[in-house]
Each structure stands twice: as structure tokens, then as C-alpha cells.
């Protein structure tokens, strides 16, 4: 039997400091919708494939709206105490420690539950009263203390529709409380600018990588579980900035991570050579 107590601060992997604005290039109206929903205190549901910029959008918005951000990467073993907080025993005393959700509620920040359906439903039950008009969090373990969310608080959850199994879908009642923002991979010209800026490569290189990415995204049902994301294209570009050739970089950052199947790998390498060489 293994038991581990999670320090809730482990989950908070990002607190932004003023000044270091995350780079985000809006594709559609997502920034407008996000801002409107935040202003009207509506929770936000981000949908989109892996690596298309969901997390980056949230980081960018937190910076833009000047609120703290607490990100929780959800997984199956996460408990409600990991989100809300728990008492810990320190030298004979019991001390309450806020979880990331509770901290966001108190501070008026954004609490971002990444891949929320990975968490079991009983552990995310606390978000229901926060997601509707009440905007309250009940701390059962603190004798039922009710916290009212401070102004600026926003609940943002993300999920990747094509990715989860049947059992792991978001409950309809939860979904209906939310404003959905659907993200997909950016159009080629936007993605090109993103790759140029993030990886520090020239326009022609970025254009080649983006064309490769677009072509791989055409390969639906060809044995690839996921396609080349903007993130992988940036990774390939970054390797080039470190002196690798474009083919080496794309083989390492795009073909390798996408598949273990030798045949599909060879096919991807052929694509890389055709588009980039």
C-alpha cells in the first residue's frame, strides 16, 4: 500500500511576476471571450488538442488581467484535499494549508485545472458551487467554513475532447455552467509567426516546419494517436537554433515523439525530407 501526502504547493507550478509577459498570438476571438467571461464571473472551459496553446492562453490572460494564476495538472490520484487544502501536523500542532483552489478563491486569482477529466469526479465536486452564481467554496474539513470568491477569481478548466476514454467525460451539468472556448492549431501564417518568435528561426524555416505540421495533421486514422502540435514545431525550431539541421531537428522533435512504430516513423521521416530538405 502506498500513501503519499501531496504538498499542495507542488501543484502550483506557475506564479507569474509582473513584467515577463507570456507570448500569445490570438487566433480568433478567444482573448475577447476569455476577458468577457472573466469580467462577468463565468467559469471557462478550454477545449483543444494537445500542444495547441491552451495553457499559454491562460498564462497570457492571467498576466493581462493582472491576477495570480494557480495551475493544477489533474491526474487520477488527485484528491479533493489536494485542491481545497488540508490540515497537516507540524510538531504536534495541526496547521491548515490552503490548496490551489482555495488560494485562488481567497486571492481572487485564476485557478486552472488542466485536463480536468483526468481527475476522478468525487475530487472535483468542490468546483460545482464555485462554477455557478454562488461562487462559494465550502471547506468541509474546516468545519464547513464557506468562502466567497474574491473579485477576480476565475475557474478555468481544460480538456482534450478526442483524448479521453468514455468514462472520463465531463458531466453535462458541469459543462453547462461554463463558457466554452474552442482552440485548434493556429492557421499557417499565425503559426509561422509563433514558431519564428518562440524558436528564434527565420521565416522560411518556420514556414517549412508549419507546412510539415499541417501535412501531419492530415494523417487522421493512419496510426498516429496525436498529430504534430505547435509545441513540437517550436521544439524542432529550437533545436535548429542550437545548430541542428532542419531534418535532424524535425526527426528528433516531431517524428520521434509521435510514434514508436518503425513503419510510421519511416513514413514521417520521408515526409520531413520531402517538405524540409
Amino acid at each position: 500500500m502506498t500513501t503519499h501526502l501531496t504538498d499542495p504547493t507542488d501543484q502550483t507550478d506557475l506564479e507569474l511576476h509582473p513584467g515577463d509577459e507570456p507570448f500569445y498570438l490570438p487566433v480568433h476571438n478567444e482573448v475577447k471571450v476569455f476577458r468577457a467571461a472573466w469580467k462577468r464571473e463565468l467559469p471557462i472551459l478550454l477545449k483543444g488538442p494537445t500542444g495547441c496553446g491552451k495553457t499559454r492562453l491562460v498564462e497570457y490572460m492571467a498576466h493581462l488581467l493582472e491576477v495570480p494564476l494557480h495551475t493544477v495538472s489533474c491526474h487520477e490520484d488527485i484528491t479533493s484535499a489536494d485542491l481545497v487544502g488540508r490540515y497537516v501536523i507540524t510538531g504536534g500542532d495541526t496547521v491548515w494549508q490552503d490548496g490551489p483552489l482555495t488560494r485562488s478563491v481567497r486571492e481572487g486569482g485564476i485557478c486552472y485545472l488542466d485536463e480536468i477529466v483526468e481527475a476522478r469526479q468525487d475530487s472535483t465536486v468542490a468546483i460545482h458551487s464555485l462554477a455557478d452564481h454562488r461562487r462559494e467554496l465550502t471547506l468541509e474539513r474546516q468545519g464547513g467554513t464557506v468562502l466567497r470568491a474574491a473579485p477576480g477569481f476565475a475557474l478555468v478548466v481544460s480538456y482534450n475532447p478526442g483524448y479521453q476514454s468514455v468514462l472520463k467525460d465531463l458531466k453535462m451539468s458541469t459543462r453547462q455552467r461554463m463558457v466554452a472556448i474552442e482552440l485548434s492549431f493556429p492557421p499557417p501564417d499565425v503559426e509561422r509567426s509563433i514558431v519564428m518568435r518562440e524558436a528564434g528561426v527565420d521565416e522560411s524555416t518556420a514556414a517549412g516546419l508549419v507546412q510539415l505540421g499541417g501535412a501531419i495533421r492530415q494523417l487522421d486514422g493512419q496510426g498516429l494517436k496525436e498529430v504534430a502540435s505547435t509545441r513540437t514545431l517550436i521544439a524542432a525550431g529550437s533545436l535548429m537554433s542550437e545548430g541542428l539541421t532542419i531534418v535532424e531537428a524535425a526527426e528528433s522533435a516531431v517524428a520521434g515523439p509521435l510514434t514508436d512504430d518503425r513503419r510510421i516513423h519511416d513514413g514521417l521521416v520521408q515526409m520531413i525530407r520531402s517538405y524540409l530538405d
Binding site: M1, T3, L5, T79, A81, R86, Y87, V88, I89, T94, R141, G143, G162, S165, V166, L167, P188, G208, Q211, G214, A215, I216, Q218, L219, G221, Q222, G223, R263, I264, D266, G267, L268, V269, Q270, M271, R273, S274, Y275, D277
Partner: protein, 583 residues
């Protein structure tokens, strides 16, 4: 930039033989926007049918540059993706080669615009350097222009050719096709029609066509061309169908049209290699078959192809079945941890910490401190395999057997999915060992949604039943896609006995039984459900074993019948397959 190919014939002759074209199929699929294979052909020019791009074997023998292969693959793939090769349009090009080549030039220019984002820059440059006249806006416009007197050059050999007949044939197969009379009779002889060919068509037919089409006489003047070719005026002889124009490709000696008299020995070597190194691109699989007469396996004997069935406008709705739900609820369970229980064999540490905290704070403490493992977790992956052979098209009252089988599949998949099991559904049929078709209704991943239901409605009974290969492929799908599930089950919904070209009677039965044994050894439980009063019921029970086969009169009777069978099949697989878990 151009290199010679890494795996040519030399690689094919080594101990690890691989098809030299496999690695082109992803590029082709990306450019076309749908799954396309790349395979070898003995024809002198590259061409595409609806499913694959065929590249001339001879080019590889001559050590063709990778750059030229890429140009051909991409041009043919973008023609597929841009709708340039729709049978309705290219049908007009049948046996009119010059027209087809002018059409190819026009369509390559159009396709490159339509698929611009997916065409490698180098190929785009090659295509635009060939011809940069004004572009067409549709395939039919290109057809009209190719027929007109407009000055359009022939496409170079590097672009390949258009073969209307190949496109039409594969189009029929890809769409599933309506069951023919032969299909419906189930056990009739397979009739293989020899492929008529555009380029092999007799010159007299060409001539007659030319005479009967005055428009074309004025356009490209095929009569003159015919006379030129056959009376030896102008161009040199070429091997295609006994001497049509054999121009050299624009880019030098790449895909030679002029194979010349030395073509035959090369082909002989190459066809030997083709059998030794079977092409297995993604979506295609080869399996051995058990030869009971010789007492050995025939390696790489059957070729299985996964396809996407056509979507129908209607859907097959699952009918709720309480008995089926009850049976399946009890099936395939595994242990999972339940925390915060009043009693149990282990302490729940988190509960103990909370308890200690509450006591220290003099709050009321929750004394559910234990954890226990209970058999409540779903641990089952099921593949439902629908027999879509032509014989299932027989009517039983108002509905066909196939309709009823389809209903069984819908009900079964629906219930399994509700319980959160991994469940996939495929329909299969065959036309000889080279063509065992698996139509993907639902993959093991993903939802059983309206798309799947309309795919299920879109499957048409057609062809025969090569059951052994179907079971072997299902076992592979389950083993590869069963995920974390330890209990794997294959449910075949079928009305009859295995039967196919060169696959009948004792031979077919023995191979099927062998395939079932292999599946069980892999830990996959197998059972067969048939609907309606089948004729050869005893034979069916004998084939599957009475404990693994059941017949129901109506899809709604499934619940009570299938539960014990599924449990038994899982038990057998668990014991024989060496797995520790049972149903």
C-alpha cells in the same frame, strides 16, 4: 539534393526484406488528405486508383532519384486530393491517352493550388516549371479545355498517368458496392473478370472511337495520331500496348516509358521479389493461413485491409435491452480500491491522518479508516465482428439477416460502451485471400456516436467469408488496442460457415478452428452469435463448439443467451491463454 533510394532492390534481397515504397504512403496520404498507399506496378507509368498510387517497378530497377519519386507521388496524391481523378470526370478519358495527358497537365496546375498548403515546395516548383498557363477552376473545366484546341502540352512521365478503369474499379470496391447476384447466392463460384485496360485496349477500338467522335477529330486529332503510331510516322516504338507514343519524360531518364525489349527479364526478377517482400503499408496486414491438407501454415497468405465504410444518411439505433445490460454488468470485473470504509483489511492512511487531525482539534472524527479492494472495476475489451458477406443479404420476413445482425451489433456495442468497456466494431467480408476487407465501424478508442451508427448503417453485404484471417486480424486489433484491459473478447456476429475463393469445406473449417485456438492462446475469448434460423446450424455449432456459439431468433433475445457464453469464453481464454483472471 537528389539522392538515390536507400532501399531499392538490394535491400529487398537482404534477410530483412521491406517494401521499398512503404515509407512514401504517409506523404501521399498527407498530400491527398486521406489514406493512400504507395505500391509497385509493372506498368510503365505511375498512376493512382482510389486507394493507392502505383509506381513503376522499372524506375526503381534503374536507380531512380528520390526527387523524381517524390514528384510522382506528390502529383498523383494531390490529384486524388483535389478531386481530379473522380470516375465521373476521368471516365471521359478512357482509351484517349493524349487527351488524358493534356488533362493531367491542366489538373496538376489546378491541384497544386487546391492542395497548396500540403505540396512540398520543390514539387510545386517542378509542376509550375512544366506549364504555367491560365488555371482551371474545376476538373470538368480542365476536361473541356483538354478536349478543345487550346495549346496545352502533354504531362511529363514524372507526373504519371491517369487510368480511368483503375479508378472506376477501386471506386466500386471502396464504396462497398451493392451486393451482386453472385454475392447474394453466397456460395457461388467466384468469377474473376480480367482487367480491361485503357492502355491495352485494341487499337481498332481506339480507331473506332476516334471516328465516332467528330469533336475529338477536330480537337486533338486522334485519327492522325493513330495513323502516325501504327504506320510508323514520327515517334519511336514503345512497349505500351504495342506502340503508342513513347515520349521521353521532361526531366531526363527517370520513369522511362521506353522500356524496350529488355523489360521482360527485369519484370521476372521483380515479380519474384514482390511475393518475397509483401507490401504492408499502414492499414494493411498480412496473416498466415493454416493448410490442413499439408499440415502447415501458408505464410503471408491473406491480405487484410482496414477501410472506412461509407456513411449512410440513416443510422442503426440501439434498442435498450435490460437483460443484456444485466448480463454485461457482471462481466469482466476487476478489483479496485475503495477508500474510507468502515472495515477492511488495510488502513487508509489519508483517513488516519484526517482522523488524527480531527481528534487533535477536538472535532468529531470520521472513523472510516480502512480501505478494501472490491471487484467493481471494469476490465474488459471487446471486439464485435460483423459478417458482411453477401449471403447475409437474404431476407427473413421483412428484414434481412444482415439487418438483424446489425441490430445485434448496435445493441451489444451500446451496452458495453455504457459500462465503460473498451469496445470496437468492424464489419468484414472477403474476395479471395488478397482482399479481406475490414470496415471500421468503431475503433476501440472513441465514442459510439452517430458517426459510428451511420457507418454501421452504411455497411452493405458483399463478398464472402474468409473467417480465419478475420479472426487473426481481430486478435491483433484487440491485443494492440485493448489498452489496460486484461480480459479480451471477440464476438463474431455471423450467419454461416467460412467460405471464400479457395477456402471452403474442411480446409476452411480447419483454418477457422486454428485461428480460434490462436486467439485463445493469446488470451482472447471467442464466441459466435447468429440471428435467425440458419440452415447449417449443426455445422456452425461444430465449428465453434457448442459452448461458444449461440443462435437467437431475434436481436432482443440476446441478453439471456449471450451472458453465459461470454463468461465461458473469457474463462477458457484466461486458463488457456495463461492469464490469471477470469470472467
Amino acid at each position: 539534393m537528389a539522392r538515390s533510394l536507400p532501399d531499392g532492390l538490394a535491400a529487398a534481397g537482404s534477410s530483412e526484406r521491406r517494401d521499398p515504397l512503404d515509407h512514401w504512403s504517409l506523404l501521399a496520404s498527407a498530400v491527398a488528405g486521406r489514406a493512400v498507399d504507395v505500391v509497385l506496378t509493372d506498368r510503365p507509368r505511375a498512376y493512382a486508383d482510389g486507394e493507392a498510387i502505383h509506381l513503376p517497378r522499372r524506375g526503381f530497377d534503374d536507380g531512380i532519384e528520390e526527387e523524381d519519386v517524390m514528384t510522382t507521388v506528390v502529383v498523383q496524391a494531390m490529384l486524388l486530393g483535389a478531386g481530379s481523378l473522380e470516375p465521373a470526370v476521368v471516365g471521359h478519358l478512357t482509351a484517349r491517352r493524349s487527351l488524358a495527358r493534356r488533362y493531367l497537365t491542366l489538373e496538376a496546375e489546378r491541384a497544386i493550388r487546391v492542395r497548396a498548403s500540403f505540396v512540398p515546395r520543390r514539387v510545386a516548383a517542378v509542376v509550375s516549371s512544366h506549364w504555367s498557363g491560365s488555371g482551371s477552376t474545376s476538373a470538368s473545366e480542365s476536361l473541356d479545355r483538354a478536349r478543345s484546341r487550346e495549346d496545352v502540352p502533354d504531362a511529363p512521365a514524372a507526373f504519371g498517368a491517369v487510368r480511368p478503369r483503375a479508378l472506376r474499379q477501386s471506386g466500386d470496391q471502396a464504396r462497398g458496392g451493392a451486393p451482386s447476384k453472385l454475392d447474394e447466392q453466397g456460395r457461388t463460384e467466384l468469377v474473376i473478370t480480367p482487367e480491361m485496360d485503357d492502355e491495352e485496349e485494341s487499337e481498332s477500338a481506339n480507331f473506332m472511337k476516334a471516328l465516332s467522335s467528330p469533336l475529338n477529330l477536330f480537337g486533338e486529332n486522334p485519327l492522325m495520331k493513330w495513323m502516325k503510331q501504327n504506320l510508323g510516322v514520327g515517334s519511336r516504338p514503345s512497349p505500351e500496348g504495342g506502340g503508342v507514343d513513347g515520349e521521353m519524360p521532361a526531366g531526363g531518364a527517370s520513369w522511362g516509358d521506353d522500356a524496350g525489349p529488355d523489360a521482360a527479364p527485369v519484370l521476372a526478377v521483380a515479380s519474384h521479389l514482390a511475393t518475397a517482400a509483401p507490401a504492408v503499408p499502414p492499414g494493411r496486414f498480412t496473416y498466415p493461413e493454416w493448410d490442413a491438407i499439408e499440415g502447415c501454415y501458408r505464410p503471408d497468405h491473406c491480405h487484410v485491409r482496414e477501410l472506412e465504410p461509407a456513411h449512410a444518411t440513416e443510422v442503426v439505433r440501439p434498442v435498450p435491452d435490460a437483460a443484456l445490460q444485466r448480463e454485461i454488468a457482471r462481466l469482466g470485473l476487476d478489483y479496485e480500491r475503495h477508500r474510507r470504509q468502515l472495515e477492511g483489511p488495510d488502513l487508509d492512511l489519508e483517513a488516519v491522518v484526517d482522523f488524527t487531525v480531527s481528534r487533535a482539534r477536538r472535532h468529531q472524527a470520521d472513523d472510516r479508516l480502512y480501505q478494501v479492494r472490491l471487484k467493481t472495476a471494469r476490465d474488459l475489451a471487446v471486439l464485435v465482428l460483423l459478417d458482411a458477406s453477401g449471403s447475409t443479404g437474404d431476407h427473413r420476413g421483412a428484414r434481412t439477416i444482415f439487418d438483424q445482425e446489425r441490430q445485434v451489433v448496435a445493441n451489444l456495442v451500446d451496452v458495453l460502451e455504457r459500462f465503460g468497456d473498451r469496445v470496437g466494431a468492424f464489419a468484414f467480408s472477403s474476395r479471395g485471400r488478397g482482399m479481406v476487407r475490414f470496415q471500421r465501424i468503431k475503433e476501440l478508442d472513441g465514442r459510439f456516436d452517430d458517426t459510428c451508427l451511420s457507418r454501421l448503417a452504411g455497411v452493405k453485404p458483399n463478398g464472402y467469408t474468409r473467417l480465419g484471417a478475420a479472426i487473426r486480424h481481430s486478435t491483433h486489433v484487440l491485443a494492440a488496442g485493448g489498452g489496460a484491459a486484461n480480459r479480451l473478447l471477440l464476438v463474431v456476429v455471423s450467419d454461416g460457415l467460412p467460405y471464400d475463393d479457395g477456402y471452403e469445406g474442411a480446409y476452411a473449417d480447419a483454418d477457422t478452428r486454428r485461428a480460434i485456438d490462436e486467439a485463445v492462446a493469446e488470451g482472447v475469448g471467442c464466441l459466435c452469435v447468429s440471428v435467425g434460423a440458419a440452415k447449417g446450424e449443426d455445422a456452425l455449432a461444430e465449428l465453434w463448439g457448442s459452448a461458444s456459439q449461440v443462435r437467437v431468433d431475434d436481436p432482443t433475445d440476446l441478453g439471456d443467451a449471450i451472458g453465459p457464453l461470454m463468461r465461458a469464453a473469457l474463462d477458457v481464454a484466461a486458463h488457456r491463454g495463461g492469464g490469471a483472471c477470469s470472467a
